[in-house]
């Protein structure tokens, strides 16, 4: 099953490589990974999406918790949560396609953030599924480049990941 695991880690050199190293060393899968500062300068927040059966996920969580740099961790997929990913996608567009892609971006609540006579850059946020759906909806429109941020997420309601 797909999981979204979010953690607060010490803003120390080498911390990120320990997390990433753990995944490769134990043959765990990383689908996406994001890391950025938080409101607390001593901490960064890292979110990873991974796939595995329950035993594997339990091991991943235990091993992440063992890392000295990982201060606190949550499996967002354990409860209700909000998941978002941002995508910037550059497509080659001409003639009738221009209106078609614009309409499609609109349907997906995307924005066209760059326009040239031959291309658009569409910006789209949402779940990874939604971003995938947009890509397949583009059909035979030629995609020049895709830049996705990977998944970030947060629990709904009162549950918080903080110290």
């Amino acid at each position: 099953m797909r999981r979204i695991i979010s953690m607060l880690m010490e803003n120390e050199p080498g911390a990120l490589s320990r997390v990433v190293g753990l995944f490769s060393q134990r043959n765990y899968n990383i689908n996406s990974l994001t890391v950025a500062p938080t409101d607390d300068v001593t901490l960064s927040r890292l979110t990873v999406t991974t796939i595995g059966d329950d035993r594997k996920i339990e091991q991943i969580i235990k091993h992440l918790n063992k890392l000295v740099d990982v201060v606190k961790l949550v499996d967002l997929t354990d409860g209700s949560h909000i998941e978002r990913e941002l995508m910037l996608i550059k497509v080659k567009v001409s003639g009738a396609q221009r209106a078609e892609v614009m309409r499609l971006a609109d349907v997906f609540r995307g924005e066209i953030v760059d326009v040239t006579p031959t291309s658009y850059v569409v910006q789209l946020a949402g779940t990874s599924d939604k971003l995938d759906a947009f890509i397949s909806a583009l059909g035979d429109t030629s995609i020049l480049e895709v830049a996705r941020t990977g998944v970030s997420g947060i629990s709904r309601a009162d549950k918080v990941l903080s110290l």
Binding site: M9, E10, P13, G14, S17, R18, G21, Q25, R55, E58, Q59, K62, H63, N65, K66, L67, V68, D69, V70, V71, K72, L163
Partner: protein, 572 residues
């Protein structure tokens, strides 16, 4: 005000370190100069950095105190990796200090630059790159705290050379305490879980206690022995746990696992309750096919590391906590309770076990004057009154030592169980002998393994370490050959080298030691006793043993624990 180099050595002293093992080189020279200018921390010069790590490791295993290593950058640092990995796999507390190129040169492919923090990452508990000399006392404090608490393990501290510059001085104060918000090892087990475990344990009909190296590291042997004797239950130890329960006691069934005794493996397989203490259901115990592992057993698992619980075998009652505290609480609960063990069931269970025991799976068949490797270990046991520190290398000789030397105390049996590192034995013995100068220290080895760190004979000379090297010389990589006999129709691909072995007696003499060769059974005990009587000399005892011997019992690959080969011709 102290320089970085002086601070490092001073902090080691303040941490209680009086002995370190190392090898100098460019980036460590400020530190070596700091060592030269003091007399509190003694430095042992090894002949290869791998030897330094194993020596520190042996010291740690024998004493329970962390082993400390100091090396230079680049090749000095990379040479420690095998030793760090060895310590990591067996959860041994160790602090490795490596030199590094100056801060401004990091990343420039400078002379002898290696990303030590990166290279060692998968085999350390944690690591530090010192960014500023002022941080040194704090980093040292944290490093020792992390290495020695929770599930112990090696910690690397990488010191850029300029951080240790004697010209730059800083105020020094060694912190008294350390607290890390992201690292809080458990101090006790969950009382409710312990209660649950005690209930299951007391109602068992076919119980067995399975104890591993965690009981050694967690200093829980006394509590474990008390628990075992109060309950009257059978106990087996892993290769790493030997000594946590006295091997000469009748409740002890011997080692379990791949080369465990028939009775230990049968009792595991037939048991209805297994109390696993500081053991991790390693594949050398479970025999890899988990679906066949102890089909009727309810599993109670005590371990300080949550990640060791339900990793391979699912624990029905997990208890995360230090073994000593948890076992003590179990003992207290049992004492306070009016529940009694099921005496009738237990009597029946012991009858079954005695029946398995009668198979006498470790019986040794004599072969005239030809020395069986098992007989060599039996003689060693007798000559040393069962009271030596025994280090070992890896191979058949290691298994024979584990099977035939009966360890009654923890920290006496010192071997590389998790990584299985050939070359471990001799340097580990140096660490033990330096920790206990008056103790009898025997290194049981093979002619293959001993050649992997043979250079340390020179260190032994320099430090006058009276280690007794017991070389079970079968003129082959015996364990490899055994597998080739059993699984590759006897095709001995690159496992023999009889025509190119050194003369070990002369070799020992060349290093300034005594060499003895033993070839006949009738002279085995006497010559061994003579060698051990040379109290102040290192004696290399080269024993010609049967070259065709296999280690038995041996688990049948992919089978249940009850499936074993008992000799070349018998199988359960």
């Amino acid at each position: 005000m102290l320089s970085g180099g002086d601070m490092l050595i001073r902090a080691l002293h303040d941490e209680g370190v009086d002995l370190i093992f190392g090898y100098p080189g460019g980036t460590a020279l400020h530190i070596y100069d700091a060592i030269f200018r003091q007399d509190k921390v003694e430095h042992i010069l090894v002949r290869h950095e791998q030897g330094a790590t194993h020596a520190a490791d042996g010291y740690a295993r024998a004493t329970g105190r962390p082993g400390v290593v100091l090396v230079t950058s680049g090749p000095g640092a990379t040479n420690t990796i095998t030793g760090i990995a060895t310590a990591y796999m067996d959860s041994i507390p160790m602090v490795v200090i490596s030199g590094q190129v100056t801060r401004d040169a990091i990343g420039s492919d400078a002379f002898q630059e290696t990303d030590m923090v990166g290279v060692s990452r998968p085999v350390v508990k944690h690591s530090f790159l010192v960014q500023s000399a002022a941080d040194i006392p704090n980093i040292i404090k944290k490093a020792f705290y992390i290495a020695t608490t929770g599930r112990p393990g090696p910690v690397v501290i990488d010191f850029p050379k300029d951080v240790t510059d004697p010209a730059e001085k800083f105020p020094y104060e060694y912190p008294e305490t350390v607290k890390l918000r992201s690292y809080m090892p458990p101090q006790k087990g969950h009382t409710g879980q312990i209660k649950k475990a005690v209930e299951v344990l007391m109602s068992a009909k076919k119980p067995i206690i399975y104890a591993g190296g965690g009981v050694v590291q967690g200093e829980g042997a006394e509590e474990l022995t008390k628990l075992t004797q109060t309950l009257g239950y059978p106990i087996t130890n892993t290769l790493m746990g030997l000594g946590v329960y006295p091997a000469t006691d009748k409740q002890f069934l011997g080692m379990l696992g791949m080369h465990g005794t028939y009775e230990a493996n049968m009792a595991m397989h037939e048991s209805d309750v297994i109390l696993a203490v500081g053991a991790r259901f390693d594949d050398r115990v479970t025999n890899s096919d988990i679906s066949k592992f102890c089909p009727n057993a309810t599993i109670l698992h005590i371990d300080i590391d949550p990640a060791s619980i339900s990793k391979t075998v699912t624990a029905h009652v997990p208890i995360v906590g230090p073994v000593k505290a948890v076992l003590k609480e179990m003992n207290d609960q049992i004492n306070a309770s009016s529940d009694k063990v099921d005496a009738d069931a237990l009597k029946q269970w012991w009858e079954n076990i005695e029946h398995w025991r009668q198979r006498n799976c470790l019986a040794v068949e004599s072969a005239g004057e030809l020395i069986k490797p098992q007989q060599a270990i039996q003689a060693l046991y007798e000559v040393t009154n069962g009271d030596a520190y025994v280090t070992s290398d890896v191979g058949q000789h290691q298994m024979f030592a584990a099977q035939y030397y009966h360890f009654d105390k923890p920290r006496r049996w010192i071997n590389s169980g998790g990584l299985g590192t050939m070359g471990f034995g001799l340097p580990a013995a140096m660490g033990v002998q330096l920790a206990y100068p008056d103790a009898t220290v025997a290194c049981v080895t093979g002619e293959g393994s001993i050649q992997m760190c043979i250079q340390e004979l020179a260190t032994c000379k320099q430090c006058e370490l009276p280690i007794k090297i017991v070389n079970l010389n079968n003129e082959a990589l015996g364990m490899v050959k055994q597998w080739q006999d059993m699984q590759y129709s006897g095709r001995h691909s690159h496992s023999t080298y009889a025509d190119s072995l050194p003369d070990f007696v002369k070799l020992a003499e060349a290093y300034g030691h005594v060499g003895v060769r033993i070839e006949k059974l009738s002279e085995l005990k006497e010559k061994l006793a003579e060698a051990f009587a040379m109290k102040d000399k290192l004696v290399f005892i080269d024993i010609a043993v049967d070259q065709n011997e296999h280690v038995y019992p041996m688990a049948v690959k992919g089978g249940a624990m009850s499936e074993m080969f008992l000799s070349k011709t018998e199988r359960t």
